[in-house]
Subunit: 470 residues, 2 copies
């Protein structure tokens, strides 16, 4: 494999004034002027790389033996289990879902087992009781491996699922229940490592310096991917390749840094919405994964100095061509409040010819003789064009083909862009203080010990007025 | 059934200053002041109801014989076909997907056929060649009924799928191919009605006065729903009930009108983002359906008088509790640029108890003895609280339970809200001129006759500069 033929490309022509006009477009001189600013963000990030919560950036330098162990474990699961169920939420779910969609058959679970060559796959990332019952209707727990993923072991949703599943397994299988659970958690602290040791579960570790939304290249993402037959060495090598590409503070050489700077400039010019629009069903859930990464990392009330900044850019997921028939009307005609990022693939993994037909209906017959591949590419180019002539900022990331290597590049590109953006904004990219209050209120509502003050606070909150309910 | 026990409730307490503070909150006096404005929007809509493209508003007054015919046809399909595949995009896909998710088992296609009691269900709303191949890998076309849905019959995506499927069917089944295709299209114009007559397909009609995004209560939505075993009389009756509830220009009695006014005020105060966040997996794709309705209806470059307005509010879909671990950090701490609408259900259709376990780990054990139902409700209330104390505008729509009747109410509530909002903004709610340029560019790129000028225009567009590709 020649890596350079598989390099993803970042095309930001349509962010520039030459293409979207001088009012909306970014000028060469804007970028030139901000080059020291970008370089500073790069240098700051490099100076903290691997420390604090930036351990994710070093996951590309993997230890082959550790990966071999994951692959061997996955091979066992592929042979011996008919179902593989991830119990996890947020960063413990979005990466596994995205990789599954990208690198497996698009109707994987519907394939007969001899075509699947691996277990059916489910990711349970909600606590809706209807969904839990639905899952139990379609799996046989005695033929299922559950992967419980939570770094702290205090994630209420995941631990609730664990309690329910462990209870069912233990009642059915007694001591053998433990053969159906693998945990992925912190090695040093938290509840799940304690439980795992006590129960004797096989356990994979999430490094302390890796947060949930940056954990896809850790066992969080690697075990599910390997169970699905993904080449996780290629996946990691793709990320490593992107890391090498971005090992320069030169904007013209570091696409993630350039992308971060363009995001920064756009945000400062009032583009408070970032649309991620892949033109491939396989990339659909990359948009969901990106939405967590961008929203939680960049959306912050205070900067590092403690100043109130209410920073953030709202990520929006769309799918080409589908959402041309849902969102593009707004994107071309609505407010100038967005940047759209298209994800394109040069070569789809299948070719479908559009056959002859409807000879007497020219409105339809012109399609005949083309391929679906030509159609989806034409629609992508046409949508890009339609946005551009309406002076709407947009950019495109091209994947030569969608595979483990290019996907690894893409994910790492976004992780680096996010890290650089956080430094540009001067915020803490890696915390999420805004979810604490909701968590504590949940604990209080469920009567957990130690949350009396929060319960009191909730009781003293203004009561809802019936006149505002109709 | 007592309809009033099943009435959905619109709670806008947390839009008001008493709850989110005087800076962000809306005052009683704001609403009072704008009451004539809201009444005017209501009156304007009522004056055009049923004319132009507002025929959707009269779909609630259905003809029982027409619905009986759909139900009978659906019964035949349920008995005689193992797969039911919708070929459609945008408004022809989002409603069927939303109803499927809401009213069928959450892993419906994974159930064994004796538990499903109906065909497996797929909605193909993209032209990715990988997805078309994947579909053909998991269905047997000889046991499949295809429902081709496009009002005009000139939707490139749907007609491409039709050409491919018809070719396969004809090669396998010859003359009997037509027994595997039902079309849903305009009775009076377009290509698909011509094709249907020529080929002898069973056809259902979309009224001329009903546009794609408002078509769920027409055969577009009703046939797929009936095939899935949904009680479509109840569904329509739910919509009709909401229509009755909203038959007043009194803001305190018409929840859709009040919701539209609150949306209008928020938009004018800079809230350019509208988040739809259901707390139920069953309601997940209602958010997608809403996103099309709101984006395409409200996102407009010009008002009715032709003034440039660049109107629009970007809809964002989220899912509770899942996206608490992805988006809520941004919603509580980021810019004050959103209104969040929660969808709640009072009673889930299943109850799951959280069993005892982890007795030595209080961080986990406090969950035991509760139900998943209590947990998801507590998390919803806690998230609402966390947003409210951070002065973030939010509102909640409660469904007593999720069923066909309440779902009909909910969809019609949003359709009415959108109609009122369009009148408040003075825009054409029912057109979508912004997608034309992209369509025409696609035609030009595919070499369709009659698009030479557009081809010329594309050829003359500025060429991309390699220096902006890294």
């Amino acid at each position: 494999m020649d890596k350079n033929n598989l390099k993803i490309r970042f095309d930001y022509n349509n962010m520039m004034d030459k293409f979207v006009g001088s009012k909306e477009g970014i000028k060469d001189s804007d970028i030139l002027e901000m080059t020291p600013f970008a370089k500073n963000a790069y240098d700051t990030f490099e100076s903290i790389r691997g420390t604090g919560m930036t351990g994710w950036a070093n996951l590309v330098n993997y230890n082959k033996e550790e990966i071999d162990d994951i692959v061997n474990c996955a091979e066992d699961i592929r042979k011996n289990y008919e179902y593989f169920v991830v119990l996890g939420i947020g960063g413990s779910a979005l990466g596994p879902i995205a990789v599954f969609q990208a690198l497996c058959h698009l109707h994987y679970n519907d394939l007969p087992s001899e075509k699947r060559n691996g277990p059916k796959f489910y990711v349970e990332d909600n606590v809706d009781p209807e969904r839990m019952v639905a899952l139990l209707d379609v799996i046989d727990v005695e033929k299922t491996m559950f992967n419980v993923i939570t770094k702290s072991g205090s994630t209420s949703e995941t631990m609730t699922q664990y309690l329910i599943i462990n209870d069912i397994l233990t009642k059915k299988l007694g001591d053998k229940a433990k053969e159906h659970i693998i945990t992925t958690t912190s090695s040093s602290k938290g509840n799940l490592i304690k439980i795992s040791k006590k129960e004797g579960y096989k356990t994979y570790f999430i490094p302390d310096a890796v947060g949930g939304r940056f954990s896809e290249l850790s066992p969080v993402g690697l075990l599910p991917a390997a169970v699905l037959g993904v080449d996780i060495y290629e996946f990691l090598d793709g990320a490593k390749f992107m890391n090498e590409i971005c090992s320069s503070s030169d904007l013209d050489k570091n696409p993630a840094l350039m992308s971060a700077l363009l995001s920064y400039i756009s945000l400062r010019r009032g583009k408070n919405i970032s649309v991620m629009m892949p033109y491939a069903d396989g990339l659909k859930y990359i948009a969901d994964w990106y939405c967590q990464l961008w929203a939680e990392s960049i959306g912050k009330e205070v900067d590092k100095k403690g100043n109130l900044v209410f920073e953030g850019q709202t990520p929006v997921k769309a799918l080409g061509v589908t959402d041309q028939h849902s969102q593009v009307q707004l994107y071309t005609e609505g407010p100038f409040d967005k940047v759209t990022t298209f994800l394109a693939v040069d070569e789809y993994r299948k070719i479908v010819k559009i056959p002859d037909g409807c000879e007497d209906i020219p409105d339809v017959n012109f399609l005949c003789g083309h391929t679906m591949n030509e159609l989806i590419q034409a629609e992508r180019v046409a949508t890009e064009y339609a946005l551009t002539v309406k002076n709407r900022l947009n950019r495109t990331i091209y994947l030569p083909i969608l595979n483990a290597f290019t996907l690894g590049q893409l994910l790492f590109f976004f992780e680096l862009e996010t890290a650089y953006m956080g430094e540009m904004l001067g915020i803490d990219t890696y915390n999420q203080p805004g979810v604490e209050n909701g968590k504590n209120a949940t604990y209080a509502l469920l009567g957990r010990n130690g949350y009396d003050a929060k319960r009191e606070e909730l009781n003293n909150a203004p009561k809802k007025d019936d006149k505002y309910i109709i």
